[in-house]
């Protein structure tokens, strides 16, 4: 062969398929080449044999590629199926034996089913849902177009439509759409999964396979990270057939979601069914660890390690628990679930008898231990003051394992006893020598609290007597000999060194000294409370912490630290809603607080899972923060003038009690408003007015309460009084306008609103109200509902200018939403309300009708729907509905006919029903509606036949009923 015959030998040729230079087909090149794609091509060329057959080079290339990219597609080779000879005799024996035993087993099962066949069959049939509606058609292509047409419709086609086109409305509608869709997609299916399975008429075999299947579904969901879904399926599995594995796996999923308590109960259940189950013990240990029952956790872990001394996870957890126990015996449940690793979800039970026996031995050992502990604890005095969350969990344990829960209870008492140490100084004293700086949290657990400790340290540089010398601070000094400032600085030192109980004690003493001093020391008191709250938080006394924070905030509204601490306490107590509100408030004051930001994110997620997509609605309003608070946030020095406290207590202040009383009452009132407890707020404000009836704000605040309670007359009077004192009070004007509106005196309302806008043209709520009131006065208005949604969002910006006045917890958001509601509570239902909620005009075409119906069904506002029906000609209904009649629309129409219209105008109801049955998709609708919905329709017809009318006869109703297939 010459070089001429084979161009590749020239050294500059390229391959035919990929145009790779021929030099690349070379050991050296391939060895160096790291381009996977290129190597794949080379391999392809080599394998094809078009450049010649080089088995070694091909193999070498494969090896190289395998080293670089083991997953490469080029390496996939056709392989024959494995046969018995591909395995060792032993392996094959196993595989073959497995199949054989399964075959014989399944045959037995099959025979069993066969016997059951005749008896159980009918029961099955009864449980089945009805047959789907007859021959419903989905036209493939038609649907396609109608789908793509919908978004197009938003663009107006002629000038008239441009006039009607409301950009904001469309925008907000898009927002709504997205919101709704997103919601539908993510978790909605969870709520729709039945948690129980009807097992009537199933054979044992069927039940087992069903339970196994549900469990497998759970495992799969678990593995893909959908823990809630996994729990659902495990629950279903348990509802069919309670098994150890399902309980155990559910416990694992609950651990993932940090539902310590439920996880605990599932572990208990497993251990009840199968004492000594290692996984359950491990998982229970984890729940103990997170509920701060460290002793129990250690016991469980030791049990595991006794059986399986090499269990890495148990060892690791044990180490962690022991460290926890050392560093901070009294610390509480700040969760940190990330660390958990009991990962595997089991498929079957693999515990053998030996393990079980050993575990039982352990159990008896455990009992001995616990009884010892009981003795040890019996002489310790038990304070009945705090009942911690974990204690609750431990108390109601099953009778079967009575010894253990009792031990738990004791341990708990011991722990709480320790944390209560602040109230018993002699006990506290014994622990005083402990490691300094233990409280500065190394594990980053209670980051915030640590930060607080640190900042406390910096804020009181050498303020108190004891501050310079930690030893002096630690020495027991009789509290009475020190002034409040000294006590406080001692407390700070103690806090820094991690002796929270003692610190709390000092703060309490300081508070006790300052308390009678009156309002002059409000600042100091507030700080003391706030500091004591930090101690309580550290100790895990969350309710105490919240109380103190409340007090601190009463004295000093909108200070960051108590808010943060209260938020943390709420979070620990799993009152996420309240925690959320507090964090939000903090962020309003200072948006740079990272802790609050992080926590908000975390809590939002929790709330969403707890309350579903509408979680926001369940929150109490987030108080608007006055600008003064923002300023204060930048001047932390002003917060703590440490020397001031001592002077303040001695200063005589004439008239202080009254003034203080007034102030506290007012603040209490404000607090009540914040909590939406308007009745209490009302009484507080009234008390205030008894003390001092010259304060304009009290009147306006009380007016607000009256408004909320729907007592418009009183509200109006209060506003009048406020205006007598201060004729330019915007709030009074605004509220009087609302009161007038509530009293349906729209003209006066209009006047007031105009005044408001005259005084301050930037108040959006007023504009809105004005718009609304004008609408009442002038019914014909074309603006549709979505405005409100949009505007509500805008208002938040308004807050700051609004918040100047000292007004509690009243966001402008509330203004826009609550007022119509209060109006509704007062007046009887009728058309005007519909206007209030949703301006409805007579629809002229299907599009308009669809828009309105969409808006209504979004709010599920039956009244509005009834109104819509009232102004719509029945005979137009089929035209208006066109082919858009859907399940929820249909149901809404029926409901509003049933609940709102039947009493007023039965003949109209009849007409509507008649024409509804002529709508395009009506028959299909009927087939799709559920039983419950059918019942509703039936009721409607019953009502209709009960109210005879000259416009229709009973016969008509019956005929119509037949049309509705009832």
């Amino acid at each position: 062969m010459t070089a001429k015959d084979n161009p590749s030998l020239w050294g500059f040729g390229t391959t035919k398929t990929f145009k790779i230079p021929v030099e690349h087909l070379d050991f050296k090149y391939i060895e160096k080449c790291s381009d996977v794609k290129h190597l794949e091509k080379i391999l392809c060329v080599l394998r094809s044999g078009e450049e010649g057959y080089y088995p070694e080079l091909t193999e070498f290339c494969e090896k190289r590629l395998k080293g670089l990219a083991p997953e490469s597609r080029a390496l996939r080779k056709d392989k024959p199926a494995a046969t018995a000879s591909s395995f060792t005799a032993e392996e094959w024996e196993k595989i073959d034996g497995d199949i054989k035993s399964w075959v014989s087993e399944i045959k037995k099962e099959e025979n069993k089913i066969h016997c059951h066949e005749t008896e159980t069959f009918p029961a099955m049939d009864n449980n089945l849902p009805p047959v789907r509606g007859t021959n419903s058609r989905v036209h493939v292509t038609k649907e396609k177009y109608s789908n793509s047409r919908r978004p197009k419709k938003k663009i107006p086609r002629d000038y008239a439509e441009w006039d009607k086109f409301d950009v904001e409305k469309e925008c907000s509608k898009i927002d709504e759409d997205y919101k709704e869709k997103a919601v539908v997609k993510n978790k909605s299916h969870l709520s729709k999964i039945e948690t129980r399975i009807d097992t009537a008429g199933l054979t044992e075999k069927e039940k087992t396979s069903l339970a196994t299947r549900e469990k497998e579904k759970g495992n799969e969901a678990f593995n893909s990270g959908d823990y809630e879904e996994a729990i659902m399926y495990y629950t279903r599995s348990i509802s069919v057939l309670p098994t150890v594995a399902a309980y155990n796996n559910r416990a694992q999923a609950e651990l993932k979601l940090q539902n310590w308590n439920s996880a605990f109960w599932d572990c208990e259940k497993v251990l009840e069914l199968e004492p000594g189950n290692l996984k359950a013990l491990l998982r229970r240990a984890t729940t103990y660890k997170h509920q701060n029952k460290l002793q129990e956790a250690i016991e469980d872990l030791n049990k595991v390690l006794n059986v399986e001394p090499d269990n890495e996870l148990a060892k690791k957890t044990l180490l962690e628990v022991e460290r926890d126990l050392k560093t901070d015996p009294a610390s509480k449940t700040q969760t940190k679930g990330k660390r958990m690793v009991i990962q595997e979800v089991e498929n079957s039970e693999d515990e053998d008898g030996k393990d079980r026996r050993r575990a039982q031995e352990d159990g008896s050992g455990d009992k001995r231990l616990s009884s010892k502990r009981t003795e040890k604890n019996s002489n310790g005095n038990i304070l009945g003051t705090t009942v911690s969350l974990t204690r609750e969990a431990a108390e109601p344990a099953g009778a079967g394992s009575a010894a253990e829960p009792r031990a738990m209870g004791n341990i708990q008492k011991k722990l709480t006893g320790k944390s209560e140490g602040g109230k018993r100084s002699e006990r506290g004293a014994s622990r005083r020598g402990r490691t300094p700086g233990a409280g500065v949290d190394k594990r980053g657990r209670q980051r915030a609290a640590a930060a607080v400790a640190a900042s406390n340290a910096t804020r009181h540089p050498g303020s108190g007597r004891g501050a310079g010398d930690p030893a002096a601070a630690a020495a027991p000094v009789p509290a009475a000999t020190l002034g409040p400032a000294g006590l406080k600085s001692q407390g700070n030192e103690l806090f820094k060194s991690g002796q929270f109980a003692e610190a709390a004690l000092r703060y309490s003493a300081a508070i006790a000294q300052l308390e009678p001093a009156g309002s002059g020391s409000a600042d100091d008191l507030s700080i003391l409370y706030s500091n004591r709250a930090a101690c309580y938080l550290k100790e895990g006394n969350c309710s105490g912490c919240i109380q103190d924070c409340n007090r601190a905030l009463e004295l000093h509204p909108f200070s960051v630290k108590p808010l943060l601490r209260r938020a943390m306490a709420h979070e620990t107590l799993e009152q996420y809603g309240k925690a959320y509100v507090d964090y939000k408030t903090v962020l309003q004051i200072d948006c740079r607080i990272q802790l609050a930001n992080d926590s908000i994110n975390r809590i939002t997620r929790i709330l969403m899972t707890l309350d579903g997509p509408r979680w926001r609605e369940k929150l109490s309003p987030i108080p608007a923060v006055p600008t003064s608070a923002h300023l204060r946030a930048w001047q932390p020095v002003a917060e703590t003038p440490p020397s001031q406290g001592g002077d303040a207590c001695g200063r005589p202040q004439p008239g202080v009690p009254d003034e203080k009383m007034f102030k506290t009452l007012k603040e209490e009132g404000n607090q009540c408003v914040k909590d939406k407890n308007y009745k209490d707020a009302l009484s507080k404000y009234s008390e205030c007015l008894k003390i001092n009836n010259k304060e304009c704000a009290i009147y306006t605040n009380r007016a607000l309460c009256y408004l909320k309670l729907g007592q418009f007359e009183e509200a109006k009077q209060d506003c009048d009084r406020a205006l007598q004192m201060d004729s330019g009070n915007v709030k009074a004007h605004y509220r009087r306008a609302l009161a007038h509106k509530g009293l349906k005196d729209y003209q006066k309302s209009l006047n007031d609103l105009n005044k408001v806008l005259l005084l301050d043209s930037s108040i959006v709520e007023a504009k809105m109200e004005l718009e609304e009131v004008t609408r009442f006065l002038n019914v014909k208005d074309n603006i549709t509902s979505f405005n409100k949604e949009k505007e509500r969002r805008k208002i938040e910006i308004q807050e700051v200018s609004e918040g100047q006045e000292e007004e509690p917890g009243r966001t402008s958001e509330e203004l826009s939403t609550d007022c119509p509601a209060s109006g509704k509570g007062d007046t009887t239902s009728g058309p005007p309300e519909c206007y209030e909620k949703l301006p409805i005009t007579k629809p002229n075409n299907a599009y308009e009708f669809g828009q309105i119906i969409n808006a209504i069904s979004m709010r599920n506002d039956q009244e509005a729907c009834a109104h819509l029906l009232a102004i719509t000609e029945p005979k137009d209904l089929p035209m208006l509905l066109s082919n858009k009649l859907e399940g929820d629309t249909f149901l809404l129409l029926i409901q509003s006919l049933k609940n709102n219209l039947i009493g007023k105008d039965p003949s109209l109801v009849y007409q509507h029903l008649l024409y509804l049955s002529k709508a395009e998709r009506f028959t299909m609708m009927l087939t799709l509606i559920s039983k419950g919905q059918k019942e509703q329709i039936e009721q409607l017809f019953d009502d209709l036949s009960d109210t005879p009318n000259k416009h229709f006869t009973l016969e008509d109703v019956r005929a119509l009923k037949r049309k509705y297939e009832l």
């Binding site: 997953e71 056709d78 392989k79 199926a81 494995a82 046969t83 591909s86 595989i95 073959d96 199949i99 054989k100 399964w102 075959v103 399944i106 045959k107 099962e109 066949e117 069959f121 099955m124 089945l128 849902p129 009805p130 789907r132 509606g133 007859t134 021959n135 419903s136 058609r137 989905v138 036209h139 493939v140 292509t141 038609k142 649907e143 396609k144 789908n147 759409d177 997205y178 869709k181 997609k185 993510n186 299916h189 969870l190 729709k192 999964i193 039945e194 054979t203 075999k205 069927e206 396979s209 069903l210 299947r213 497998e216 579904k217 799969e220 593995n223 893909s224 879904e229 859907e886 799709l928």
Partner: protein, 357 residues
């Protein structure tokens, strides 16, 4: 994963048949399976086999007038175990295999061959009514309830005058409660359409460019999680069905699996992340789907959209030179599988080590 840890696909039992076999299905809760096909003389055949002592024993052979294309046990109870079949003439029959002379249910459902069939609501799989869906060359997809004679309970068809596409595959899904249920249909032009049976509407559609040979949800009885679609040109697509973006639809990942048509995809009944694809050149590929860290993300406008994961090949074997036409996992025994191929063979396969993945 070392070579020994990998699942191995073992051809346990092979048996040559004297007819063209189109479909094979395990009889639930047994060591039996049925094969369906076409005798050379143009008649249809259903055979019932049982595994006995490492071999296949023919228990019953039923000959019918028309070649049988597809069958399912999906809509029957465990106690009855009736087989629903679709044949070349467009008939849907439900057979009691104990007494196969007369069908339990019979309807002339389509004008042309029924290519594909699926059932739900039976065998404890899927909440709600037992239903059968058939897809045909006449372009329609019809849903049947065995309790209703003659008429389908739902009919998905192109409007008058539209081109009728050959429907090659149908699959039920989303049957996690009594109301919800979807049917997914794949057509010869690469269209995939997802019909929502609750709302009787087309929920989503897409086109994967090449004819859709097989579709399957990873589970019928959970809220739609994943959908695998295989295509004529050797690719398959895995759609994450949890998050639907208003415009982009569902996120998907595609993989070139075989050198020719991927005829079938079947998920392991015991683990939804594993599935087997059967290729045109007689090859089988076992795949594992891995989820991304986050299954959904927000797009630039804050709308949630799905994120597709990745697939990895666990094992592949070549069984035959002819296409593998059908594939079925045993619902009762993990790793047991049957497949039929156009070389007139039916094979019982064992896939090992599936529980370790």
């Amino acid at each position: 994963m070392s070579a020994f840890e990998k699942p191995q696909i073992i051809a346990h039992i092979q048996k040559g048949l004297n007819y063209t076999v189109f479909d094979c299905k395990w009889v639930p809760c047994s060591a039996k399976f049925v094969t369906m096909g076409n005798f050379a003389r143009g008649t249809g055949v259903i055979q019932l086999y049982e595994i006995q002592h490492g071999d296949l024993k023919l228990l019953r052979e039923i000959e019918k007038a028309k070649p049988i294309k597809c069958g399912t046990f999906g809509a029957t109870s465990l106690q009855q175990r009736y087989l629903a079949t679709g044949d070349f003439a467009g008939n849907l029959h439900i057979w009691n295999l104990e007494a196969p002379e007369i069908p339990v249910y019979s309807v002339k459902g389509h004008k042309e061959i029924i290519n594909t069939i699926d059932g739900v609501g039976g065998l404890g799989i899927g909440e709600g009514a037992p239903e059968i869906v058939t897809g045909s060359r006449d372009g329609t997809v019809k849903v049947w309830d065995p309790r209703q004679k003659d008429d389908p309970v739902a009919n998905m068809e192109p409007v008058q005058g539209e081109n009728k596409r050959d429907c090659w595959t149908v699959a039920f899904g989303n049957a996690y409660n009594q109301e919800e249920r979807v049917v997914c249909a794949g057509y010869d032009n690469g269209d995939i359409k997802l019909f929502d049976l609750r709302n009787m509407s087309l929920r989503w559609e897409t086109n994967i460019k090449n004819g859709v040979c097989s579709l399957e949800f990873d589970r019928k009885d959970i809220s739609m999680n994943k959908l695998v679609a295989t295509s004529l040109e050797g690719k398959f697509h895995v759609f994450d069905m949890r998050t639907q973006h208003p415009t982009k639809g569902f996120a998907s990942v595609s993989e070139k699996a075989h050198k020719s048509t991927v005829w079938q995809v079947r998920h392991l009944p015991q683990n939804r992340e594993l599935f087997l694809t059967a290729g045109g050149a007689g090859s089988l590929h076992l795949w594992k789907y891995e989820y991304p860290v986050q299954r959904s993300k927000k797009d630039s406008e804050g709308v949630e959209m799905g994120v597709a994961g990745s697939v990895s090949l666990l094992q592949n074997v070549t069984l035959s030179t002819q296409p593998i036409s059908s594939l079925d996992w045993s619902p009762d025994k993990r790793g047991l599988c049957i497949c039929s191929s156009f070389d007139q063979m039916v094979r019982v396969l064992i896939v090992t080590k599936l529980h370790k993945i």
